[in-house]
Subunit: 174 residues, 2 copies
DNA sequence: TCAAGATACGGAGACAGTCTCCAGTTGTCA
DNA sequence: TGACAACTGGAGACTGTCTCCGTATCTTGA
């Protein structure tokens, strides 16, 4: 990839992250202006709004997953901490959560989705958590998706924390 | 409301329900043709796609909530049965769930959202379930929303059932 | 260092979906 | 049954999406 192309791509993703995080409603073409490039460049790098969102999503997920395992904690603590950290991250970036949950297809095909799911699966396996028919990882993903996509509920932050605690209680009881 | 207006409104909602359920991707204008009315009529009744989705949503939710309480069951059983029934309903109408979850704003303002949430709150209160700071109803709503909006996951049905069981386990343990 | 070729850029304009507006029609009420 | 209010339908304006290609920039090899 040519150096200028890489630079432009990065600029677009950074601008988009910013737009999403501040919950701005922007025409797709305007993302180009925001990043200081032409529309053609925008479309070449990201054929659809979803593709752009997926790129932002991947970056966010990577940041979270990179610190999923902490040598100072037990495997069980890692898992609990990851889920709680996920919620706190969204509390700090609600707009990002809402936009990404709305635009990124949850059917796991994006790199970010795969990364997140495999991290959850890994943490659960290490913590010795496995429910019945192996659907437990998916169940966790569903709850996380629910949290990300309901950020505009008035009491969302405390409700999300409650949802995670209920989920953890259910998992540890099983 | 004049009789013909009522008739047209109902025809539009019925057509939309059908379109959503079969996951058809349709331009908004085409909903009018499908219902046998003109675009003007469609827009007068439903200014936006979201307004139309909300009307469909309301109908679906009403159908579910009307049978929420069964004299032959205990209050606790009513609640468990409601959540499980909710999932089974979505399993039978995945397209409807996906579309409505994507289009209807979860910030509770629609009649359907209010109806669903108050039903859940009522069932939980009767079952004697109340977690900590009152966020438990919201937590349940978040999980239900997660289920409705992830219907295209490959193993979604079993994962959704698992999510509900984990939620119930968590709630009953508390 | 400097061609020559490959790759990327930008934005004008075609295209598609959304929404408005109003002349004509239909229902309602006295 | 007449008069009026309410509703209808669809042509066309409007707005956002996306493509296309002439121009500019980078990279590589001599």
């Amino acid at each position: 990839m040519r150096a200028d192309a890489r630079r432009n791509r990065d600029a677009i993703v950074a601008a988009a992250r910013d737009v999403f995080d501040h919950d701005e409603q922007l025409r797709f073409d305007d993302f180009a202006a925001r990043a200081g490039v032409g529309v053609g460049t925008l479309y070449r790098h990201f054929p659809t709004r979803e593709a752009l969102a997926a790129a932002v999503y991947e970056g966010e997920v990577a940041a979270l997953c990179d610190q999923a395992r902490d040598p100072a904690r037990s495997a069980g603590e890692d898992f609990d901490a990851f889920l709680r950290g996920f919620v706190e991250y969204l509390v700090a970036h609600a707009g990002l959560g809402r936009t990404l949950a709305a635009v990124v297809d949850p059917a796991v095909l994006s790199d970010g989705g795969i990364r997140l799911e495999s991290t959850v699966a890994d943490l659960m396996a290490r913590a010795g958590i496995h429910v019945a028919d192996g659907a437990s990882v998916g169940a966790v993903m569903i709850v996380l998706h629910g949290i990300g996509s309901t950020t505009d509920r008035p009491l969302w932050a405390s409700e999300s924390r409650a949802a995670v605690e209920l989920l953890l209680a259910g998992l540890h009881r099983a």
